[in-house]
């Protein structure tokens, strides 16, 4: 059969289209970008802009994390390791090279990201030999090893005394805004990268690994290389997030740089929004990241946000087990199918209501063995 035959298919052979009109998609994107850009100009209260900075840091980190864990199905609960490497890189480079605490601080972002990405290569090479629960446990273990190193390599890290970063030189009247906009720019780059990965042949290989790694390998997908590259890309963005966080906070301590609750936060945000989707984790980061900081600022160290986390997680599990974005997408597809059934000659197949799967099941039921 020739390509011409393919293009000559009849209308009833055409696949169903579930895409929103291009103008709606483009318009929504513009609206969201505009809202994020003007946010600190509208809400000038430093408490609110500080919440915005944290939201951007989480948006950047979770979008990077999703490129590996969301697309490949390998749930990494040790990416705080790269967050910490990003923070220490920023602190060490600032102090050793006497970098002035102006805008130069942000020039360190790509450097810190690159250091985290390079560190991810040997770490990923070791960790990615195992799968499922074993992989999850090992990622946590390696993160704690780095925390111990940070405590004990005192001449490099300052040990439990931590490291101080210089106070930014710009006016305190708009202290938060530069961090916010740099975070937004970096997060936008992470999201564009994630979008590109999702539509590339490389990304398709990652998604195939998520569904059945052995089968993907048998069909010619270079699974080890694909996973390792995605792991390193995700580390770059999480490391860059650390390099924004450190100068914003002004200090780096081992227990906060390599913090397991950061990993839980990333996972909860991604699961809530929709693991493995482009905008799901971003949505989760904006909602949960903001809520977390708001509750922390309102109630101090009482960890009220942990209770809210738990409640939110239970609610999502009960009501939207696939996460917010996939659940809405599934409803949308059901509606399109329903509408098509009642409109003759659209070519939409019967009984095609999609089941996009429950991410929580998918995580624990990846193919292959540990």
């Amino acid at each position: 059969m020739s390509a011409t035959d393919v293009s000559n298919r009849t209308a009833t052979d055409s696949p169903a289209s579930y895409d929103l009109p291009r103008t709606v998609r483009f318009g929504s994107l513009l609206l969201v970008v505009a809202a994020l850009v003007v946010f600190p100009l509208v809400f000038t209260n430093p408490t609110i802009t500080s919440v915005g900075v944290f939201a951007m840091i989480y948006l950047l980190a979770v979008s990077g994390w999703n490129i590996f864990s969301g697309y490949s199905g390998y749930i990494a609960l040790g990416h705080a390791l790269f967050f910490g490497i990003g923070q220490y890189s920023s602190a060490m480079l600032t102090s050793r090279f006497k970098i002035p605490a102006g805008w130069d601080l942000f020039a360190l972002l790509p450097v810190a990201g690159a250091i985290a990405g390079l560190a991810a290569v040997p770490i990923g090479w070791m960790l990615l030999r195992v799968r499922k629960h074993t992989f999850i446990v090992l990622t946590i273990a390696v993160m704690f090893i780095f925390q111990l190193l940070a405590f004990n390599l005192r001449s490099w890290t300052g040990g439990s005394q931590g490291m101080q970063l210089p106070f930014p030189t710009w006016s305190g009247a708009y202290f938060n805004e530069p961090f916010y906009y740099i975070g937004l720019l970096a997060a936008a780059i992470a999201l564009v990268t994630s979008w590109w990965v999702r539509r590339s042949k490389f990304g398709l290989g990652l998604l195939a690994i998520r569904d059945d790694e052995d089968r993907a390998r048998s069909l010619g997908v270079r699974t080890t290389r694909t996973k390792l590259v995605a792991f390193a890309i995700s580390a770059v963005f999480v490391g860059a997030a650390g390099a924004i966080y450190a100068p914003f906070i002004g200090s780096v301590f081992p227990q906060f740089a390599f913090d397991p609750s950061f990993d839980l936060a990333l996972a909860v945000m991604a699961f809530t929004g929709g693991l493995g989707t482009l905008i799901g984790p971003a949505l989760g980061a904006l909602v949960i990241g903001s809520l977390q900081q708001y509750f922390l600022l309102q109630f101090g160290g009482a960890n009220v946000f942990l209770i809210v986390y738990g409640l939110l997680f239970v609610l999502i599990l009960r009501l939207l087990p696939q996460g917010i974005v996939p659940s809405i997408a599934a409803r949308w597809r059901q509606w399109v199918t329903y509408r098509a059934r009642n409109t003759p000659s659209t070519g939409v197949p019967p009984d095609s209501a999609p089941d996009v799967g429950r991410p929580f099941d998918v995580v624990l039921n990846q193919g292959g063995s540990a």
Binding site: M1, A3, D5, V6, R9, T12, D13, S14, P15, A16, S17, Y18, R199, S200, K201, F202, G203, L204, G205, L207, A208, R210, D211, D212, D214, R215, A216, R217, S218, L219, G220, V221, R222, G347, V348, P349, D351, S352, A353, P354, D355, V356, G357, V362
Partner: protein, 250 residues
């Protein structure tokens, strides 16, 4: 001339000997059937031939080239595609994405391109058209019926243009209409030069489509020959079909 040959292949799992010095050859350009009772070692032989299992002893040859230690991806790259008894598709990917997985580019630059780009996209669309799944191309593969999943697996092997296709129980769980469709597709591809090796319990399907049939029993080759010869051989009737061939066919 034989395309795939196994020589004295042995494979054990603990105390169970799945293959006991199995020697077999499958003819190039033919539709070869591989039958035998449950537990006779057919699927194990498929696993050994496609690199999913390493034999304890013996050799696997693809057109004379030793493939005994080859991995599944190397066997696939050498032009041998394989489907499974229980379909192994990618359920959360769309039907079209499934077909594209087997058409992955190897070079770094190729990996950076959009997954629907390149000549392989046309091949993927053609493969879907060939098995009649075009209108379902944007559906998640997991939402297809079992028979459709069999066709999809067939399509995503096909897109890599293999010279040999190994089908493990393609008729299992497939309704008669789809089965006729599948048989037609196999014949069409065979006419283009693709060699088939088919493991199947559906005797009507095997006898109707195969040029040559090999019979396995207790992990070794029992006999091979034309469908008519196999159908009437007393040893086959005794080992595989029991005492009454018509009862087995029913």
């Amino acid at each position: 001339m034989s395309v795939l040959t196994v020589e004295e292949v042995r494979k054990s799992y603990g105390g169970v000997q799945a293959l006991r010095g199995c020697t077999m050859a499958f003819a190039e350009g033919a539709v070869n059937g591989l039958i035998g009772p449950n537990g006779s070692g057919k699927t194990t032989l498929f696993n050994v031939m496609t690199g999913y299992e390493r034999p304890d002893a013996g050799r696997v040859l693809l057109r004379g080239r030793d493939m005994t230690q080859a991995t599944p991806d190397a066997v696939f790259a050498a032009g041998v595609g394989r489907t499974f008894q229980l379909t192994r598709i990618f359920p959360r990917l769309t039907v079209l994405e499934n077909v594209h997985v087997a058409a992955q580019r190897r070079g770094l630059l190729g990996q950076l391109r959009r997954w629907t780009s390149g000549a392989e996209h046309e091949r993927a669309l053609e493969a879907l058209d060939f098995v009649g799944l075009t209108r379902l191309s944007r559906e998640p593969a997991g939402s297809l019926s079992y028979g459709q999943q069999k066709l999809l697996e067939f399509a995503f092997i096909m897109v890599a243009s293999p010279s040999v296709m190994l089908l493990d129980e393609p008729a299992g769980g497939v309704n008669p209409t789809l089965l006729r469709h599948l048989a037609g597709r196999i014949k069409a591809l065979n006419a283009q030069g693709v060699t088939f090796v088919i493991v199947e319990h559906d005797m009507e399907f095997v006898m109707g489509i195969c040029d040559q049939v090999s019979v396995m029993h207790n992990g070794a080759a029992l006999m091979e020959g034309s469908p008519e010869k196999v159908r009437s051989d007393p040893a086959v009737l005794d080992a595989y079909l029991g005492t009454d061939v018509s009862a087995a066919e029913a």
